[in-house]
Symmetry: C2
Subunit: 139 residues, 2 copies
């Protein structure tokens, strides 16, 4: 799907099915398509959904930078869109992706690296890429 | 973990690590622990997180009903807590669960039953339990 341009009518149908919140955003869960691993949760606005479907690469809305955020634009850790799914009430998207490298800015594969275990909060996954290499000399 | 009572100090540490939004809520993604299937996305407040960790059964905050929502309290489709994870910036939870029956009020296993395919929005999973059986004569 992501390899072919999406027809305008289909895009309009999809955008009409999404219930954006009062800030114009929709919660978007990114899942590695083959392993099922949850990589991250971020937000999209209408323009981000449209760009994601048109470009076949995942684009979010950065709430901190207040602009479109092409995932990996700085770090190179891009997400190729495999499939976009919408939940029953339309207020959450599930984005099946193929993640290049790591999804988390800490250099871990997934942003969910802390778990409640043994009566406390534990770090359960290791850093795979030094964040300095992700955001340092590259630009 | 969910089988044992959580120590008060651990609960305090976990609650302090969560960044609740302006409505006092945190986005919570429920994932079937063994298959990796994303079942639903809902919201928790502090009391819901605490109840989930103390009871070992997932409790959300219902934004429509404005009260705690013990998942399955009406439908019987409960979620046993397997592990609670927190993301890097603390504003999203990943709740690994063992789902009894179906997660979606439409009677489907997952709320994500619509996908962008072939230039349009398609229903990709079937109803497993008649919603009338979930919410009808039971109460």
């Amino acid at each position: 799907m992501s390899a072919e341009p999406i027809p305008d009518a289909a895009l309009a149908e999809i955008l009409a099915s999404i219930v954006f919140d009062r800030d114009g955003l929709v919660t978007s869960v990114a899942q590695q398509h083959d392993t099922g691993e949850i990589l991250m949760v971020a937000w999209m606005n209408r323009a981000a959904v449209e760009a994601t479907l048109r470009e076949g690469q995942v684009v979010y809305w950065s709430r901190s930078r207040m602009r479109l955020w092409r995932k990996g634009e700085t770090s190179g850790q891009t997400q190729r869109l495999v499939e976009l799914q919408i939940d029953c009430d339309g207020d959450t998207l599930l984005v099946k992706v193929d993640q290049t490298g790591v999804a988390c800015h800490t250099g871990r594969r997934s942003c969910f690296f802390r778990a409640v275990r043994g009566g406390g909060l534990e770090t359960i996954t290791a850093i795979e890429i030094d964040p300095g290499d992700l955001y340092g000399a590259r630009r």
